[in-house]
Structure formats: C-alpha cells, structure tokens
Amino acid sequence: MREAVDAWTFVMAAYAVGVGATLGLVAWSWLTMRRAEARRDQSRKR
C-alpha cells in the first residue's frame, strides 16, 4: 500500500534546495571576486 504524500511539500523542498544553492553560489562567487580585486588594488598601492 502506498502512503499518501502531499506533492507540494516535495515541490517546496526542491525549490528551497535549488534556489538556496543558486543564490548561495552567486553571493559566494561575487563576494570572493570583490574581496580578491580589493586585495589586488591594495597590493598595487603599497
């Protein structure tokens, strides 16, 4: 016998994983880039 499942729970879980990971990746990459470029600009001034 198959248990009753609420499809929307699975849909929301998938969107939370997918959107969260994508936004996290974008934020991480952007901040890493900004910090690295700031370090480079600082090393030029020294």
Partner: protein, 255 residues
C-alpha cells in the same frame, strides 16, 4: 577566441559582462520559476511534482555543461597553452559541482513521490553521481597542482587538464544512459529539433534553462576575475621579493 584569451582584454570585457549575466540571469530565472510554480498547470500523471522539472532539468544541463567547459579549457591549455584556459577550467568546476549536486538532490526529491523511492542505482542517476565525484576529484587535484606550481613559481600543471579531458567520457555516458540501459529514468523529452513536452510546460522550462545558463556564465566570469586578481596580487608580491612570477598574470591590466 585567441584574442579573448589575453587576460587584460578578458578583464575589460568581464568587468561589465559579469554583473550583466548575473543580473539578467537572476531576473529571468525568477520569472521562469515563478511561471513554473504558479502559472503552469499540473501534469496529468505527475501532478504538482512536475514543477520540480523547472529546476531539475536546467541544473542537469549545467552540471554537464560545466564539465564540457572544463574539457574545452583543458584542451586549449594543453594544445595552445592559452594563459586563461586553466583559470577558466578552475572557474567552471565549483558551479558545475554545485549544479550537479542540486540536480541529484531535486531528482531524489522528485523520485520519492513519483517512483516511491529516494534513489535507484539506474544508469542516469549513477552516471550523474559519478560526475559529482569527478568534480570533487578535479577540484582537489587542481588545488594540489596549483599549490605545487606556486611553490615552483609556475602556473597550474597539466595533470588537471588531462583529468578534465579523460573525465569528459562520462558526458556521453550520462546522455545516452537512458537509451543504452532499460532504466527507471525516462528517456530524453527534448531532442534536436523536436520536443515531446507540451507548450505549457516547455516554455517555462526553456526560460529557466536560459536564466540558469546566464547565472552560470556570470558565476564563471566572477570566479575567473577572482582567480586572476589573486594571481596578480601574488605576482606583484613575488616581483617585489625578486621571485619568478606566473606567466598568466605577468601583465598590468589597463583599468
């Protein structure tokens, strides 16, 4: 393409292309996912879970596209010794691994209500899992190779490039796995020139693929800029210390 491989020229273009790709990509992705989540209909057999497809298919595509990027860059590094090729491969690896992991996770979440199980060892799922392990191995190898090269005052070695080319053999295996083996995973719904998906589902899916691809491109550009900036700062310190620099970063970009 050879002209674009000049780091200074690349930086001039990437400076405006990075926010453009990320901005448009995020907006298009949000519109596509909103369309898929709230406006597109439920499917007759899959019901509401069909909405997971708008995330799962683009991330599967980008998981494979990331490795195709690594393999292409590896080829350019080995054959033409492009100064940006190794950097491009490194920039593709992490987003490729993240999207492969998201593809596996969303596929597993979809599989529970649709198949009654979180996981089956069928050809498509297993070859995607192998792709994730290839990414993790490649990232570790590239980091070790970079550390060894930095110690010797050189750039990234050839080992990750060879691994990148050899690992590309998994891409056709993933693609044809649903045709070669009688698997749980359904055969491809979109092939060259035709689609088995109705327009109500196809258009938000294509829009999501476009949005995610732009986000992926923006992330790769951002990561390339970060690697280049790190190498430039380090090369400057090396020059001040009188040590040999990296061939890829011995230049002064015109800002």
């Amino acid at each position: 393409m050879h002209g674009f491989a000049n780091p200074a020229r690349f930086l001039r273009i990437a400076r405006w292309l990075t926010p453009l790709c990320l901005g448009i990509g995020l907006v298009v992705t949000a519109l596509a996912l909103g369309w898929g989540l709230f406006l597109s209909p439920a499917e007759k057999l899959q019901g509401e879970t069909v909405r997971i497809m708008y995330l799962h298919v683009p991330t599967a595509w980008l998981g494979m596209a990331g490795w195709i990027g690594i393999a292409g860059a590896s080829f350019a590094q080995l054959v033409w010794r492009h100064p940006l090729a190794g950097i491009a491969a490194r920039a593709c690896a992490v987003p490729g691994a993240v999207f492969t992991a998201v593809c596996l996770a969303t596929g597993s979440i979809w599989g529970r209500p649709a198949w009654g199980t979180w996981w089956v060892w069928d050809g498509r799922l297993t070859s995607m899992l192998v792709l994730l392990f290839l990414y993790l191995g490649w990232i570790a190898l590239a980091r070790a190779s970079e550390d060894a090269g930095r110690g010797a005052g050189q750039g990234q070695g050839a080992a990750p490039a060879i691994f990148g080319l050899l690992g590309a053999i998994n891409i056709p295996i993933i693609h044809y796995s649903v045709l070669w083996w009688n698997t749980q995973h359904q055969p491809p719904s979109i092939t060259a020139g035709k689609s088995a998906i109705a327009g109500d589902f196809l258009w938000p899916l294509l829009l999501a693929m476009l949005g995610f691809t732009l986000v992926f491109a923006g992330v790769v550009f951002a990561r390339m800029r970060a690697i280049l900036a790190d190498q430039q700062a380090e090369a400057r310190l090396r020059r001040k210390a009188g040590a040999p620099g990296d061939f890829a970063t011995d230049f002064e970009p015109a800002f």
